[in-house]
């Protein structure tokens, strides 16, 4: 029974495809279209990366301040200050047209890096209501200098060990520590 049915189907197929010697590719196209749609909907076009932070352990004691440069980048509401913990403010970069002056920050940090090539650590200190985006942009400019000169783009390391903290207050308390501003 079964063999006769098979034979009949075989005869029918032979009749159907008589004279046609190409493959039936329609099912393959179906599968490919499904694949394309599946991949399109699962595709991710933005890469998420991470920035590592340098936070002290909760129960570690205050470390002894090492000698030399203690670089601080202080982000205030209206300006970015670059300071050394021991000697005070080195440079104040006011906001330009409502935007922080990241180019100026990068430029001055390159100058500092040229003077102190062995220093890797920097503290980024922020006032309370500075948005998160500003923190990330400041960290970027403190970590790396994107050198667009010459062939292609080179990334020059500036101060990759970044700690984050509160900005020191401006006012009487700060004035007594820093000898006025």
């Amino acid at each position: 029974m079964a063999s006769s049915k098979l034979a009949a189907r075989s005869i029918r197929n032979h009749a159907k495809y008589k004279g046609r010697n190409d493959l039936n590719i329609v099912p393959m196209i179906d599968m490919m279209v499904i694949l394309v749609f599946f991949l399109l909907f699962t595709a991710v076009f933005s890469n998420t990366n991470i920035l590592e932070l340098n936070l002290p352990a909760p129960n570690s004691s205050v470390p002894e301040l090492p000698q030399g440069l203690q670089l601080e980048v202080i982000v205030r509401r209206n300006s970015i200050e670059i300071a050394d913990r021991n000697s005070g403010v080195l440079r104040t970069l006011p906001k330009k047209e409502g935007e922080y002056d990241y180019a100026g920050l990068s430029e001055f940090l390159q100058f500092v890096k040229a003077k102190y090539p062995t220093v890797l650590a920097a503290n980024v200190l922020l006032e309370q209501d500075i948005p998160y985006d500003v923190l990330v942009q400041t960290m970027d400019n403190t970590r790396l200098w994107l050198n667009a000169e010459g062939l292609g783009l080179t990334k020059v390391e500036l101060f990759p060990d970044i700690s984050v903290g509160d900005a020191p207050l401006v006012g009487a308390a700060a004035a007594s520590v820093r000898g006025g501003k």
Binding site: L55, I130, V136, V164
Partner: protein, 150 residues
């Protein structure tokens, strides 16, 4: 046969999309928040994710507190519900190898661009208080072209 160019195009599309979906996505999707752009190149690792949206605080997708609550509870630094949630995560989801080693525990913070530093600082302080040694910030990769300046 007229279908051949069509198949060629489909094949190219499939290959292109396959290549672009090759890297596995670890961090959750970020439709509700805009995270900042950065030139950082480190790939995210499998960690506990704390998400700070414009109105809520989530740990691995579960809502812990609202931002309004955080603003309300005054001056204390540690966010207690977040600390408890992080403790719970470290007890359950972390790999056994990382359980004992405090410095190996990691938390990734995904924050909205506009999150004020005061909130972020409290989240970081809480993560440290909940015995997580490493804190990372999630960012979107920025395309930098040569000649754009630093």
């Amino acid at each position: 046969m007229a279908l051949v160019p069509f198949i060629d195009m489909l094949m190219m599309l499939v290959v292109f999309l396959l290549l672009h979906s090759s890297d596995v996505e670890i961090l959750p999707n970020t439709k509700q928040i805009t995270i900042p752009q950065s030139v950082a190149e480190l790939k995210p690792r499998e960690t506990v994710v704390v998400m700070v949206t414009t109105d809520a605080l989530l740990v691995n997708g579960r809502q812990i507190a609202t931002i309004a609550e955080l603003r309300g509870d005054g001056k204390q630094l540690i966010i207690e519900p977040l600390r408890l949630a992080l403790k719970e995560q470290s007890d359950s989801s972390l790999r056994a190898a990382a359980q004992g080693d405090l410095a190996e525990r990691e938390v990734t913070i995904m924050g909205d661009k506009g999150t004020p530093f005061s909130v972020l600082k409290r989240v970081m302080a809480t993560a440290t208080a909940a015995d997580y040694g490493k804190v990372s910030l999630a960012v979107i990769q920025r395309e930098v072209e040569a000649g754009a300046g630093a």
